[in-house]
Symmetry: C2
Subunit: 214 residues, 2 copies
């Protein structure tokens, strides 16, 4: 094998693999997301496309909220440099945005079906962190639910994960919520070898990029 071992993906290919994955795994059928959480910046585009294909009946759009998690990226607007250094040293993730709770939307996560979306599952670090932090929020809100509804059973909150590409490799982290995998709610639209995936939104010359996608 010689030359460029990167995997180039075109916009239409991204769109198409999302459509196929939704049909194949029947995403949105049994597990009907109330909320899509896009991990930014990579999850923004897959999340928006995914919503087109798991739109509910009656033309109701599923709400998308974004969270900002940064692992590799060198974020510009960090005001606390020591936090960045610490995150880098410990392989941690930097939270650059989190969910909004409050009327008129999404006042609670309890009992909801929540689909987390990102572009690539590489080392699984970002996804694990997202699940861990969401589970903290959910646990807190469950406590509040119990306080406000004594004696009532706490409705189950279901998390799912959708990524464009899962790289077949040893993962640095495991998902802290095993029920996601056990219940079959981890979906990768495609699986790849451990190679560099070049997404179209990173392309400077989109015609040249598209020609490389076969």
């Amino acid at each position: 094998m010689s030359g460029d071992t990167k995997i180039y993906v075109s916009y239409n290919q991204v769109h198409e693999i999302i459509k196929k994955a939704v049909a194949k795994y029947r995403i949105g059928q049994e597990f009907q997301p109330d909320l899509i959480i896009a991990i930014g910046g990579g999850g923004f585009i897959p999340a928006r496309i995914l919503r087109t294909f798991i739109k509910r009946q009656g033309n109701k759009n599923i709400l998308i909220q974004a969270i900002g998690l940064s692992l590799y990226e060198d974020i510009h607007d960090i005001s606390d440099e020591s936090a960045v250094a610490l995150a880098k040293a410990t392989n941690q993730v930097i939270k650059t945005q989190w969910l909004s709770f409050g009327p008129p939307v999404a006042t609670t996560l309890v009992g909801k079906s929540i689909l987390i979306v990102d572009e690539v599952d590489d080392t699984r670090t970002t996804l694990s962190y997202a699940v861990q932090e969401l589970r903290k929020d959910i646990a807190e809100q469950e406590k509040k639910f119990i306080k406000e509804h004594p004696g009532k059973k706490v409705p189950e909150t279901k998390l799912g994960i959708f990524v464009l590409h899962n790289k077949k490799k040893e993962k640095k982290m495991q998902l802290p919520d095993e029920s996601i995998v056990r219940a079959g709610r981890y979906w990768a639209a495609d699986e790849t070898a451990d190679r560099w995936i070049v997404y179209p939104w990173e392309a400077i010359d989109i015609e040249e990029h598209t020609q490389k996608c076969v």
Copy 2:
């Protein structure tokens, strides 16, 4: 003129008009955004692509945060139906997510250059609302700045707007911050007649959609 009067736009066309607009209007040169605010869900994809073209030197990514504003859409996860009814009746906008403030990022908007991104400027209602709400946050944070730095001049906070398409039509709302237009920080990658624009992320059959884009 007969038949389909909708305007179909392909992914590669979206990518290309963003690239051209950045070069033509020198976006990111004089006005260097510290923060990109994507109005979801339509602004997610343009914002992510735009970041590729206004990346700063040293490979530092510009932070993107999302805000959720809903005008036309029938959001699924609305817990307060009266809020929705009111918003519809008064042509208002529903806030489904807002910015996160706090360490390690974006602890304040004061003195920052902020670029708001959406897909289309139709009636200007959503954009006006976004600017109005941001200006409220900025005013509050400026008060805090003055309190914490008595006697010091409050640094100017600059807003800019970038949309894929501006529809040439009478707008229902004007931007509450006139300095955006006056300083030449309102950018539309393209202008269109008042027709229905079909974006690729809404397409069910992406091949068919792409063929319609000329």
